[in-house]
Amino acid sequence: MSTVKLTVNGRAVSVDVEDRTLLVHLLRENLNLTGTHVGCDTSQCGACVVHVDGRAVKSCTMLAGQAAGCNVTTIEGLAKGDELHPMQAAFRDNHGLQCGYCTPGMIMSAVDIVHRHGGKLDEETVRQELEGNICRCTGYHNIVKAVLDAAGRMKVAQAAE
């Protein structure tokens, strides 16, 4: 067992975990942040994507101990209180989700994609960048629409700040 200290959704936490514990299990089992999902066991599906120090990471590929000292944001920490993040709002408004299981990872990846590409996203880039997130419900059509929509909203929001 080790004690891992990290910041999750802006809150400093200290958690005792087995050394083999993955970050996703620390979040789900120790912190009860069950919005981060597990959809596979080979780091393919992306349902577990969170932000570690601002970058999208598959939390099933990272040991909890590797996140020590890091700043982790999960889907639960994305909105500002009742105000949805533009990506969350765009997923809802464009019907970019159905069963909701891949959605948290999809949204966290998508936010990172927009951050990395700024306003230069096009459909082809979004589709390539979403390679690491599998959705079985939507056929990606509306997810792609949502990401492009959110990219515009985030640009506007950034300009306003």
Binding site: C99, R127, R136
Partner: protein
């Protein structure tokens, strides 16, 4: 239509919890004292279980129990059942081998459970499982249908000689033979419908909790039909009587058919929770999903179609072998029979049809309904046949289809189905216009100049949704009725709860069903809650599969609403001192027509519950129930056209355009409907280009992870162009047909027809990987 009524693309009520990480799935459930189950699964496709030594595991930290297949047999937990009886052409019943929840003696597919470890944590259970020693005596295995039916093949079950479950037929053999004898042309086709893994993104899971004081079980499970699960667990598996078993299917992360069935793991979790006296959680990992979720499709077919000199179809003859895997899953028997062969008339006038279906055991994962279930197999066969025929007869494939379309309704096919309504010309015309079919030759020529092979492929599907009526399916062997129930509770303050026996696992029922109420009463959907997925809350219902929820469940809601409205009008009329026949409902108010007198819904509801001033003899309250049994299936239909390019150097396929023109009858929420079509198309295209289960000769599943089984990713798919044509379904009060499976049913043939058109070689099987396409081009 109101702002939030029928036909409005309102955003989904359920989305907020999913986009903020507040969805509640089975694996999110935590109970005090919970233990964790890890199954020990056979690494062999066929073996005798000679012994299980769990002594070392039982000494490990945190281990609560190691339970075996023999113990579950000793405790008289029932074997898994198949719920649809099929009779072979010789009159004999289907031949079903026994399937215990954990194998006491013989394992018949890789991944079949033989024992389970229960421990304080998931990791401790996994650690202990490593220490359990299972002594297997390996047996020869047979992993494909052709090998399984050969004389002298390994026999899986003593009950099924020759590994044959049934040899069934439908249609008129003599009339079909006669039709072929008069044919000017006969077109033949052999094809495989590749085996698929459903792969809902949420793996299956179960949390079971036994309350010894009440002798009562609660099961949280990833189910599309919690009431059916309770019925089967109670009546057939002897877990507990129904009133002592609560089944909850909370948020469920996709199903696609794979979560219809009651699997061994749920049974074992319930049984084990009593044995160990603590709650038991099992969450499957993706590898277990590949090995144990019921697979889909897996047909090998030979088909012949007879045409007269005017290219009119005279007859169709089909022989199909269906791979059932090692055991008969819950609805497996119905899939290649009443959900497949009954759709072999497609959109066409085919005077004579004869189809034979042989169901075969192999040492592979059981096969059952997967999105479309039999109908994709029928549609793929027919639509490849039409394309093949058009090429052989040297006519345009669209013209050949139009020459043979059914245009008079109702239309009785030679294979049971009676189509109530449709307009197939409207769909194909809409699709051809959307893709500029007429301009294709010029585009093909231009692509050729650029070194690319361009092709166009059509697929005109019809499907049958909302399997019904109950009396008819019962006469065909179904073990259940296929009606649906609804209960509507108008609360004393006028808010409304709708309890439905259907289950939403992505389909958006919480929004679409609320829109039906909004349409009737003029109340906003925020005033309406849809309750589903809990046998303690909702009366018996049949669940969600076969695109039945709106056509059957939605109709049940309308029937219950009619009763609510009738009573509410009586109360309103009494309060307003008016005649009941003069009361109309508008914008949430009950008005006396032609006057300015009205009373709002909350006041009517309050009057119903205070009961201070009700009409003489009226019972208090405003709550009504309806059970709706349809009179027929519904028949969604449409036309899909795919245009793509093949790179002759690599065999790689690139989409140029994919258009879909569907007729689903009335649309409740077009945004949700289109989302359903997108998802279905992705699964159909996935089958055509990417997905395919591979077993090696010994029955090992080679494609057992997302690294080996190619799931469609965002950059594998195009954006889709959708349109709708409309004929209202006459069989239900909403005029709806169902839209959940259409895309998966129609898409694969359009893709393969386009590739074979591009490369000029019709010998191509799914998935049409670059390797296969390259070889089809270059030999």
């Amino acid at each position: 239509m109101g702002v939030e009524g029928i036909g409005a693309s309102v955003v989904r009520k359920e989305d907020r919890r999913f986009i903020t990480g507040k969805g509640r799935y089975v694996d999110d459930v935590k109970l005090v004292g919970m233990t964790y189950a890890h199954f020990i699964r056979s690494p062999h496709a066929h073996a005798k279980v000679k012994g299980i030594d769990s002594s070392a595991a039982l000494k490990m930290p945190g281990v609560v129990a190691v339970l075996t297949g023999q113990q579950i047999v000793d405790d008289k937990v029932g074997n898994l059942i198949c719920g649809w009886a099929i009779t072979s052409k010789d009159g004999s019943p289907m031949k079903m081998g026994a399937w215990p929840a954990m194998a006491p003696e013989t394992v018949r597919f890789v991944g079949q459970a033989v024992a389970v470890v229960i421990a304080d944590t998931k990791n401790l259970a996994k650690d202990a499982a490593e220490a359990v020693v299972v002594d297997y005596e390996e047996l020869p295995a047979v992993a494909d249908v052709r090998s399984a039916i050969k004389p002298g093949a390994v026999q899986l079950h003593p009950e099924a000689p020759g590994n044959i479950i049934y040899d069934w037929h439908i249609g008129d053999e003599a009339a079909t033979k006669d039709a072929f004898s008069k044919a000017a042309n006969v077109v033949t086709l052999e094809l495989t419908n590749n085996r698929l893994v459903p792969n809902a993104m949420e793996p299956r899971a179960a949390v079971a909790d036994y309350d010894a004081a009440e002798e009562h079980y609660t099961l949280w499970t990833t189910s599309q039909n919690p009431h059916v699960a309770r019925l089967v667990l109670s009546a057939f598996y002897n877990i507990a009587p129904e009133h002592k078993l609560r089944v909850i299917a909370p948020d469920v992360g996709g199903g696609f058919g794979s979560k219809i069935y009651i699997y061994p793991e749920e049974m074992v979790a319930l049984w084990a929770s009593k044995k160990v006296g603590r709650p038991v959680k099992w969450t499957g990992d993706r590898s277990e999903a590949f090995l144990t979720d019921a697979h889909g499709r897996d047909h090998i077919s030979k088909a012949e179609m007879a045409f007269d000199k005017d290219n009119k179809i005279l007859g169709l003859r089909v022989k199909t072998h269906a791979n059932f895997g090692a055991y008969m899953s819950l609805f497996s028997s119905a899939v290649p029979t009443y959900l497949y062969a009954t759709l072999l008339s497609g959109q066409y006038v085919i005077p004579a049809i004869y189809a034979e279906v042989v169901a075969v055991y192999t040492n592979t994962t059981p096969v059952d309904a997967y999105r479309g279930a039999g109908r994709p197999e029928a549609s793929y066969l027919l639509e490849r046949m039409m394309e093949t025929a058009a090429r052989q007869l040297k006519v345009d494939p669209a013209e050949l289809r139009k020459t043979n379309f059914i245009t008079q309704f109702p239309y009785q096919t030679p294979v049971i189905m009676a189509y109530d309504i449709g307009n197939f010309h409207a769909s194909i015309d809409a699709a051809m216009k959307a893709i500029d079919y007429a301009g294709f030759p010029a585009r093909k020529a231009k692509a050729k100049a650029d070194g690319k092979l361009r092709g166009i492929g059509l697929s005109c599907y019809i499907e049958a949704c909302g399997i019904a009526p109950s009396k008819a399916v019962g006469s065909l062997g179904a073990g259940v009725g296929l009606w649906e129930s609804a209960e509507i509770r108008v609360n004393p303050v006028g808010t409304i709860e709708v309890l439905t026996g259907t289950h939403s696992h992505g389909q958006g029922h919480e929004t679409a069903f609320a829109q039906i109420i909004s349409e009737r009463l003029g109340v906003p959907i925020s005033q309406v809650s849809i309750v589903h997925g809990d046998t303690d809350k909702v009366q018996f219902g049949m669940g969600t599969y076969g695109s039945r929820s709106i056509a059957v469940g939605g109709a049940a809601i309308v029937k219950a609403m009619e009763k609510v409205e009738a009573k509410a009008k009586k109360i309103a009329a009494h309060a307003l001192e008016a005649s009941e026949s003069d009361i109309v409902i508008e914008n949430g108010e009950f008005k006396v027509t032609g006057t300015d007198k009205s009373i709002a819904l909350p006041m009517v509801a309050l009057a119903a519950y205070t009961a201070h001033n009700l009409p003489d003899g009226m019972e208090p309250g405003l709550k009504e129930t309806a059970f709706y049994d349809p009179t027929n299936f519904t028949f969604p239909a449409g036309a899909y056209i795919c245009e793509l390019e093949v790179d002759p150097g690599t065999g790689k396929t690139s989409f140029v355009n994919f258009v879909a023109a569907d007729d689903f009858g009335r649309l409740i929420n077009p945004m949700i409907v289109e989302g359903q079509v997108h998802g279905g198309l992705a699964q159909g295209i996935g089958q055509a280009l990417l997905e395919g289960v591979v077993y090696d000769g010994t029955g090992q599943l080679v494609t057992a992870s997302f690294m080996d089984y190619s799931m469609p990713r965002a950059d594998d798919l195009p954006s889709f162009k959708l349109s709708h044509t409309t004929t209202l379904c006459p069989g239900n009060p909403l005029g709806v047909k169902g839209c959940g499976e259409a895309g998966a049913i129609g898409a694969s043939a359009a893709v393969i027809n386009a590739i074979t058109d591009a490369i000029g070689n019709n010998k191509l099987e799914m998935p049409a990987t670059p390797d296969r396409v390259w070889h089809a081009i270059h030999g």
